[in-house]
């Protein structure tokens, strides 16, 4: 990329940290700050790679004691079975407590209405806020990263939400040094993003280094898919394919895991972590650009959803 004219960074000191070590130390610091300052924290756990890395960091942060947080999954009902199986196995393995908020319950009793396009990602906000309120969670860990999307690039590590769960970019507190201000009024809560400074590549490199198991759908496999909005979607009961859409069996993998109706697969033969890292390093698309229909809606789609209280 560039030609070296200067000497490499001084490595005389034995006290160096790799970028993964530095990111890990920062994330662990954030988990411990929350444990020290909040009454009822919860980790949003979807079974996606970012939430899996969060849980892994939390397990390390409090070793040999158990993680002092419960988990919350907002279940759209359009889940990949492999992910639910992984979720339940992980919860049992670490003796954790999992709350599940079902979008379906809210549709059944009329608090939410199914969208014409069948996607349920935007519907998660109401059950999420309901769970936060009913369980009185005061700190909610999310796996959001600032590299994902430009509205997230200005997100704080500790992000204050009002009593409606809403995010007001103008009310966000300046964050200096490693001093996080978690003060909040009754009814307000703080979203906490321990992976703020990680990139997709960092997450995968860390998964490789730590030998973290992921749901199989992150690796290449054959699957019946059909094309919609330029993405490969999995055929299923949620409403695809339409008559005009043709199902094909392709070798694909998922770069992100979300609602089946709007999470696209990518053509890939990356069967191992090393393959995936090679693929991401060479990719010319961001993870959300490649796989998320909901972010393609408008220039400010994420900003608008965040304001309403989305992850």
């Amino acid at each position: 990329m560039t030609t070296a004219t200067d000497s490499l960074p001084a490595t005389d000191s034995p006290f160096t940290l790799s970028h993964l070590d530095a990111l890990e130390a920062e994330s662990v610091h954030i988990f411990r700050e929350v444990a020290g300052e909040f009454e009822r924290p919860v980790i949003l756990f979807s079974g996606g790679k970012d939430s899996i890395v969060m849980l892994h960091l939390a397990l390390k942060a409090f070793w040999p004691a158990p993680v002092p947080f419960t988990l919350l999954h907002v279940d759209t009902g359009h889940n990949f079975p492999e992910v639910i199986e992984y979720r339940d196995r992980t919860v049992a393995q670490h003796n954790l407590r999992l709350h599940v908020a079902h979008v379906q319950d809210f549709i059944d009793d009329g608090r939410l209405r199914e969208r014409p396009d069948g996607t349920r990602n935007p519907l998660q906000t109401v059950p999420l806020l309901d769970a936060i309120e009913s369980h009185k969670f005061d700190a909610v860990f999310g796996g959001g990263r600032r590299d994902e999307e430009k509205a997230r690039a200005k997100e704080r590590v500790f992000s204050l939400r009002d009593e409606f769960g809403a995010w007001d970019p103008r009310r966000q507190r300046p964050e200096l040094w490693s001093l996080y201000n978690g003060k909040h009024a009754v009814g307000e809560h703080v979203r906490v993003f321990p992976l703020s400074n990680w990139t997709e590549l960092d997450v995968w490199q860390y998964i490789e280094r730590e030998g973290i198991e992921l749901p199989e759908i992150y690796y290449a496999h054959h699957r019946d898919v059909f094309k919609r909005d330029g993405m490969w979607l999995t055929a299923g009961e949620w409403g695809g394919p339409k008559e005009t859409e043709t199902v094909e069996n392709r070798l694909i993998r998922y770069r992100t895991v979300g609602d089946m109706s709007c999470t696209g697969a990518v053509d890939s033969d990356a069967a191992t972590i090393a393959d995936v890292i090679t693929e991401i390093a060479a990719s010319r698309l961001t993870e959300r650009g490649a796989t998320r229909a909901d972010d393609k809606m408008s220039e400010a789609a994420m900003e608008d959803r965040k304001r309403e209280g989305y992850f």
Partner: protein, 437 residues
Amino acid sequence: MSTTIETSATSLLRFATAGSVDDGKSTLVGRLLHDSKSVLTDQLEAVEHASRKRGQETPDLALLTDGLRAEREQGITIDVAYRYFATARRRFILADTPGHVQYTRNMVTGASTAELAVVLVDARNGVVEQTRRHAAVAALLRVPHVVLAVNKMDLVEYAEPVFAAIAKEFTAYAASLGVTDVVAVPISALAGDNVVEPSAHMDWYGGPTLLEHLETVSVTTDPSEQPARFPVQYVIRPQSGEHRDYRGYAGQLASGVLRVGDPVTVLPSGHTTTVAGIDALGVETDIAWAPQSVTVRLAEDIDISRGDLIAAGATPVPTKDVEATVCHLSDRPLHVGAKVLLKHTTRTVRALVKEISYRIDIDTLEQRSGAEGLAVNEIGHVVLRTAEPLALDSYSDNRRTGSFLLIDPADGTTLTAGMVGEAFDTVRTDADGEDWV
């Protein structure tokens, strides 16, 4: 670009850029991201689409960094934006901050975690008031390395004397603020000269390109040169199973090196003991250094809780009287007599603003006494009295244990950023020559 190179990036550099659109800052940031291949196709397409909607023919790279709707609509940057990119050698976290005076708080925020600051000047204008302000903020926040990027060299015929004069003036000014590590690079962000690729127009310049310097600058001071500081975040006590009797203090080393067997002092109590064991996130180890997050076990059973400091070497004397340089961050002014919360490392205590000794004009560095309050973006020197003693280091010695926040106890608003001690290594007085120091 081979994968082995991509994944072997080891160190992390946090740096900040300060400047305005007029200096070409957005173009520079866009150029760094674009030429280091960190802007991906869909991001570029989004920018092109948005630029066309605004009637612009060429993609406006500023749209890559202006994330919020209000910013795009008003064509301004209102907040610190964090950018991420990597080269074969290093991972970078860029705090991109707007440069106008009303955004001093954003520059202060971005500089607080930066190990390097890039100050941008327009080669046609040279060192102007804004340049001095950016240098002052970097000096105030004790950013260890400063880069002067003399931009728009293409508009001054790539003339060496223009660059040399600006570099000389800036370096002298920075030195007067106590900033000794200044590297000046002549660039054209628009044309790409010396940003990522060496310039074909400036043979007279033999130094590194901006990116080469960012890749190779030595990022951290040797932790063994500083005394160990370990603020306790959380006490780990499983109280059951095989680790029934385990008691460890979880924290992140703010500075220094800790070894098993080291004598340590617990502050503010003053109890002394030795390090019995160190667990590095589940793996027992003999040694840990800043900024690692670890769990420390001590030889004696002392009453320690969140907010205590485990320290080695020369330890600070806990005090309730705090003198500090502050930058006020909130739209609500800070007044003498205000009762606030002070958050220092992992300890939050009540505090009273006893005195605002003087305000510092960040453009001229003049100290103006008689300030009744500090408004947003203002910098001053204050005297505080806390309800409980704090183990403070001077900010010039330790950016982590010498910094604090003031918080409004009523609604939790972050009011003020504080740095223990004097602002700069050199003291200036205003023209009136008033009798305070």
